[in-house]
Every structure is written in C-alpha cells, then in structure tokens.
Symmetry: C2
Subunit: 337 residues, 2 copies
C-alpha cells in the first residue's frame, strides 16, 4: 500500500488511496461477507425489537495493559447493547486518523477489534475513514455503533425497579481507569494494573436467562463508575440504593493505588463490568449464573433498593457508619475511554 | 449550564457536567421520546431488512454557504441509507469536542442537525460525547450512524446492472466541494458558491416508486465525486459506462470556478445528489419523478451502461471526442465532509 507505512491525507479522500486503505486494512482485518460488499449502507436481516447505541473513543494512550482503543471500542458498544439485553447483530466503525499515523499500528488496532468482535460473536459490517492534517486530531479516534436484537419480552429500566430488589455487580471495580492512568505514566506503581476491558454479551445473556422476568435493570459502570450508575438508578426510580462497602469487590492493586492517590474506586470507570438489579428471590440464581463464567467469577451482591432515602445512594461501612455517595461533578480522569 | 459558555474537559466526563451538557444541549435540541429515556442503547421496533451506515464528519470550516457540519452529518447518513433504498428509522450522533469550544456554536449545530433530521422524517435517538484537551482535536467532529428499513424487495447493486441501462443524475455537481473551499478562503470568487447539502430520502423514495424493479443501483457521489461512483459501478458490474459531457448538469458558478482553478467538476464531492442506474424503459418515469421535486428539478439522463469497454468510464464531449474518466488517486480537497 502506498504511503511509506504512514497515513497520508490522501488516504482520507474518496480516491484510489482511500480504496487501498479500505481493502488492505479494513477489509483484510474485519473480513466478513456483509462488509465485503462495500456498500455505503450494510443490509441486515432482523425482526422484533432492535437496540441501537453509539460511542466515540478517544482513549490516550492507544494501548494499555489489558487492552487498546480497538478492544475498548468494540467492547464498549457490545456492552451498551447488553444493557438493553440485546444480542449484538452488527457493528459499524468510523475512524478519524491524524496524518502520519503508522499504518502498522492501525492494522494492529483493527486486529484487536476483530478479535474482540469475534469474542462477542458479532462482525463489523460497515465503516468510514477520515484523515485530518497533523495536529488536527490526536493519533486516532474510533466511533463504534451497534445494533442488537433485544432478547427479553418484558420492559427493563430504572422505573421497573422495586423496594427490596437486589443490586449485583459482576466483578471488581476501578481496574480500567487506573490501568490507563498508569499506562500514561501519570504515576509509578509497583503492581501491574490491568484493564478489565471485555465484551460482556455472553455473561449478560447467562444472567438474563437465569433471572428471567425478575431482571429489572442493567447498566455498565463506565465513565462516572459505579457511583454514577447507582445515582442514576436512584434518581430515575424514585427510590434509594443502599450499598455495603465491604461487599463491593476491589482488587488489592486498585485498593492500594486508590489509597496512594486519593481516588475512590466507586467513581472510577470500568469497561468489563455490569450492574444488575433483580427481584430479591432471583438474586442467587443470577449470582450463580455470573459466577459460573470467568468474567463473572467475582460477582457479588453489593446492596439493595430501599424506600428509605428516595433519590439517594448510601454507602454502609464495616463500622456501621453511613455516608452518601454523591454523583461525581466534573472530570478527574479525561480520555480514559 | 456551568462552564462560562465554553466546553470544559469535565463536560466529557460521566459526571454532573456531562449530564448537564446532555440535558441542556442534546436533549433540548434533539428532543424525542426515545432519546429522552437516556438509555445506553436506544430501542427501536423494526421488521424486515435493515440498512446500517456510519460516517465521520471533519469538515472545515464548520459552517459554509448552504450548510454546516450538523446538516452535513445528518444528510450524509440519510443519503447513505437511501443508497440502499432504505427509509431512515433512527440516527445516532457521537461528538468529539475540543476543550474550549463555544457552547453557543454547539447548540446552533445541534439545531441544524434537528432541522435536517426533521426534513428527512427521522430522529436522533442515541448519542455520545467525548471532550479532548485543546489541540487534540480541531473544534468538533461528529460521527453519525443510521439504521433504515429497506423498502424494496428486489436486490440492488452494481452486479444487477445490464448493458443499455440508463444512468441518471439528480442535479448539478461540484457545488458542495467548491462552497467549502470558498468558505475556507482558499480562493476569492465573485459568485456565491452554495453547498447542495440536503437529505434525499423523499427524492429517492419517489424514484424508487417510479422505477420499481427496474431500478438497479443508486449511489451518492460524495468524496471522489461522480468519477468515483461511475468507476466503482464499471468495476463491480464488469461493464463500461459512457457519459455525455454536455448532459451532466453543472451550475455556471461551479463551471467558472473550475475553469479558473483547474478542477474537474466530475471529481468534486456532492452532498445532495444521487446517481441512479435504471433499465432504459423506465428511465423517463424515474426522471419525471425526480424533476417533480425541488431537489431533483435539474435531474438528467447523463449516459448509459455499455459492454464496449468493460471496467472503464468514457466521457464523450460535444465535439464527438472520447476520453477515459479515471478514478481519482489521492486527496485534492481534504476535510470537505
């Protein structure tokens, strides 16, 4: 492919260089029959209810322990579909690339996208690429969009949540945000922090099957972390949430880094976790289904829904004290996804 | 809304500032019941065949005569769906914003998106926003993704094209690319050049109804222009295309600017045009349907499909000479969409 191994402005044109990039990189890496048609719009067969979600990814650096922007982009979109109990049907990927970006790195990132999409049983069926001149973007941004087929018949959402429902978390929190910060060299830390970045459809499907109509709400705690998800749940349901501090799984490495840096794991972003609200009588079935899979091995029942303090999230410590977990205000950690 | 009228890094967080931005700008401007649920994935009801397309928009400047990045983003996606004969069902919009970007400008651009979506009878039902630090992006990038419902039962595409089919263009070419160049101040020109940026679903629907199963192929000539669309048609169909130079509508302003600057209108990008290939016996019906609508008033039959020179596009001039219209190679005009 022309360009001396680097992206040229011409790779963003509608001309021959652009077609070379599409064929030699995107088609080669994402290889599937729908994409190969190279139509402006991909055709999918579907029926029933469709979920639709989009996410821009601007993570810096592009690679970090446990993942890279490509894995993040695919996992983030699959997981957003999963919050609607939707099996991923197809993904779209739009690339904004800075002139001079190394082609070899683009290929590596595409491979990572393909691997992650394969894990989730979905294909990247359509896409777009724009190239901007040097300094008009920071290396590479990827926007992924997904369509999925909703596999449940009942309504899900905060408004379906009831007093006494159990709150379940699929695993440890804080891993992604701290892994990215560490990869930036923002701090030096002896233990390796590894992002949890992973597509969760399989895990969510198992939970959906186990809980059936008792499943009320699911959401992935990305930017704003667990704090944000629980506050939105409290606000939209008109009920309160009570969380047991000790019950929330946090890895020793994240715990130490948080102690050292003054962060709270509750507000840190995750990219491979899911929060479930389920009627209490089905909580153990759902937990069992999660724990039976590697990505849910550390799943825990972390609290419950209460009518005691509507709109608020309370954290109960091991010493029996309680404090309010307020919504985070601004941005402590930009560009972690 | 906090931030002194400018986008802060915190507007890209998952916290309160982010929610304010989503509510005060995106929800307020795109207002519709699906988006208002603020779910990570929007739910759509659908059945049958679905078309799916994505496009990143990096146009510079953000505003130009005839449009802006918001109108471009919505029209571009609606038109890509239209190439699959798909009625737009829902749009997603992902914003990458440079820290310090003026909120008032973001609101104006969102209004333009809403107006354009209304014209096309579609809503923006899901979205995402990331904010990057100063100089890590150039103001604003918008990636739009669309899902649409395919309204024809028969297959469309270059491989269905036959010798003798008519090639029809919905109006003048070159307007968009030159309007953006002029808005950049790259050249001074007395006549105002106005972008053709418009959503074409209504026009395409009329054409689809008029041509029925005689319609073989449709494609919007954006980057790479008419030259690119016709070359791809020739390549994928294994047939040739013959175009009458005189028959291709070009506005006097575009003609003069091209003469002055040495551009060829055939390779310039358009954002409100469609190329149709239709069985010859239905060409007049399709033309009539296009001409009956404002966006198709200057529609013309510009050529035909031939077995004479497979894989090639020939341009026949008024003097009877012929030359090959080759695929453009690199990028003459970066960031026009």
């Amino acid at each position: 492919m022309t360009g001396g191994g680097r992206i040229l402005l011409g790779h963003g044109s509608g001309g021959k260089l652009y077609r070379d990039l599409v064929r030699d990189v995107f088609l080669a890496e994402f290889s599937n029959p729908v994409l190969e048609r190279l139509e402006d719009a991909a055709s999918l067969a579907t029926s029933g209810r469709v979920a639709f979600t989009t996410d821009a990814h601007v993570v810096q650096p592009l690679r970090f322990p446990g993942g890279d922007i490509g894995r993040l982009a695919v996992a983030g979109t699959v997981n957003d579909l999963a919050t609607a109990a939707a099996r991923p049907l197809a993904l779209a990927a739009a690339f904004i690339i800075e002139e001079g970006f190394a082609l070899a790195e683009l290929v590596e990132i595409c491979r990572s996208m393909k691997r992650t999409a394969d894990e989730a049983g979905v294909a990247i069926v359509t896409g777009d690429t724009k190239v901007v001149q040097r300094d008009a973007a920071d290396g590479l941004f990827i926007t992924t969009t997904g369509v999925g087929e909703i596999v449940v018949g009942h309504e899900l959402g905060a408004e379906t949540v009831r007093e006494g429902d159990a709150v379940i978390l699929s695993g440890t929190i804080g891993d992604h945000a701290l892994a990215v910060l560490a990869a930036r060299g923002d701090f030096h830390f002896a233990t390796v922090l590894v992002s949890d970045c992973a597509p969760l459809w399989d895990l969510v499907e198992a939970a959906v099957v186990a809980a059936g109509e008792a499943l009320r709400f699911l959401r992935d705690p990305t930017r704003g972390g667990l704090t944000m998800v629980l506050n939105e749940l409290a606000e939209s349901s008109g009920l309160g949430v009570e969380i047991e501090d000790e019950a929330v799984p946090v890895s020793p490495a994240v715990r130490s880094a948080c102690d050292l840096l003054g962060y709270e794991p509750f507000s840190l972003a995750n990219e491979g976790k899911m929060v479930f609200v389920v009627a209490a009588q089905k909580a153990e079935e759902l937990l069992g289904a999660l724990r039976g899979r590697p990505l849910g091995a550390r799943a825990a029942r972390i609290g419950h829904v209460t009518a005691a303090h509507p709109g608020r999230v309370a954290l109960r410590t091991a010493f029996g004290t309680r404090r309010v977990l307020d919504m985070p205000v601004g941005e402590l950690l930009p560009r972690i996804c």
